[in-house]
Structure formats: structure tokens, C-alpha cells
């Protein structure tokens, strides 16, 4: 942890009211990167997607603890979002655009696609019946833009 300049770990209840809270938390942490408006929106959107997935898929709307960890290393943000819910059987399949297991709830299947589009790195670790962790990385002030 020696090269971590700042960090924040948060745990909160997995209810949909807290999706907004999660975006506010990540915004509060990310201001120290002096982000552009677009960078801030990127991180807020990715956070919203990951937290929503814990609530709807991980806990199937029955609630449970969500953990978010943020670390600042130079201009890099490491963001983790975790639940202790049902887990994902086939992560590769889950990450395909438009794939969703909850079409009856009008899910678009674009959650992981947005996370990948807006962050510089997205990795998912999931164990069936144990839970899911999404690891994301964002490099602020990078000159290479996505196409």
C-alpha cells in the first residue's frame, strides 16, 4: 500500500436509493484528481452500473452489503465494487453487450459494456453463491482517448 496516496473504503446497504449515494461518494473522492467533466461522468456512470448490478443481480433486490474501495495512486484511480450475492456462472458471457438474465425487468444488458467503455480497465471476479467483485481502473488526464 506504500504507493497509495489516498484511499476510501465504504460499505452500505444494497437498496436502489443508494445508487445515487454511491455516485456522490465516488465524485467526492475523485475531485482530488482534478478531473475533467467527462472523466467525472465516466466514473460516475461506471460506478452506477456496478452498484446497480449488485442490487438487482447480486442480491436480486432483497438487499445486502455493498463494498466500494477507492485508491488513488498518482493519476490512477482503482475502484472496486463488491457484493456477497449469487455470483456469476459465466463471466465472459455476462460481459457480452446486450446479454442480460433479467429482460423482464427491462435490463438492457449494457452495464458491463458501459463500464468497459468509460474505464481504462475492467476485471470481474465472481464465485457462484459467494459474490462478485468488479475491479476497475481509470487513468486521469491521459491523452489517449477512446475511439
Amino acid at each position: 500500500m506504500s504507493d497509495v496516496e489516498n484511499y476510501m473504503k465504504v460499505e452500505f446497504e444494497g437498496i436502489s436509493e443508494n445508487e445515487r449515494l454511491a455516485r456522490m461518494l465516488v465524485s467526492a473522492f475523485v475531485v482530488t484528481f482534478n478531473p475533467t467533466l467527462e472523466e467525472l461522468e465516466d466514473v460516475k456512470t461506471a460506478t452506477s452500473e456496478a452498484v446497480t448490478n449488485c442490487i438487482i443481480h447480486g442480491y436480486e433486490q432483497l438487499g445486502g452489503p455493498i463494498e466500494m474501495t477507492m485508491e488513488k495512486k498518482g493519476q490512477e484511480l482503482f475502484l472496486q465494487v463488491a457484493d456477497y450475492g449469487i455470483g456469476i456462472c459465466d463471466v465472459e458471457k455476462a460481459m457480452e453487450p446486450l446479454f442480460t438474465t433479467k429482460p423482464q425487468l427491462d435490463r438492457s444488458g449494457m452495464g458491463f459494456t458501459f463500464m468497459e467503455a468509460f474505464m481504462d480497465e475492467v476485471k470481474v471476479h465472481s464465485v457462484k453463491g459467494k459474490g462478485t467483485v468488479v475491479h476497475m481502473k481509470k487513468i486521469f488526464g491521459s491523452t489517449c482517448k477512446r475511439v
Partner: protein, 107 residues
Amino acid sequence: MEAEYQVDEQFLFIYIPQEVDHHVADKIRRETDVLLSERSIRKIVFDFHDTRFMDSSGIGMILGRVKKMRKCGGSVEAVGVSNQVARIFDMAGLPSVMTMRQKEECV
């Protein structure tokens, strides 16, 4: 933080709030479907003038209404879409299934 609804003949205007996440999208979905079942609506106009945040839950809610309206020969339109929201629309391919009009913005 609440959506507002206005029915004018066969049009349903939905004024979308500042932020659309799963919590908000779910509420709009339920409220809209009540209106659609009670009134004979041919066109939904989503008004995004106030909206500065939307994620994939908003996309799902809109696509669901597009499917529903198509079944009865109706249609869906989005107006006042900011650059921020437009990039989400574009990535999800929404402009190919519905009319989208962007907000005029000074750059």
C-alpha cells in the same frame, strides 16, 4: 427528482428528471405503464432537457417502452438530449430505433 407526465390527446409527454439511474428508471417504468394501460397513447415523447446523468438502466427503460409502443403501432421520441446523455444513447444504438433530437448547447 420526480418525473412529470402530461397527456395531450394521443401524446404522452414525460419530463425526465436530472438523474436517471435504476432507482429513477424503475419508477418511470411503472408510472408510464399505468398511464399506457389507462389512456390510448400513440406516441411517447421523453423530454430530457433537465437530464444530466443517465446510465444503462435508463436505456433499458426506454427500449422497453419502444417495444411496447411498436406492438400497438405507436412510436417513441426523445427531445432535449444533452451531449452527455446523447453519448449514452449512441453507444446503445438507440438512434436506430427511435427519433432523437439533441438540445442546442453552446460548446
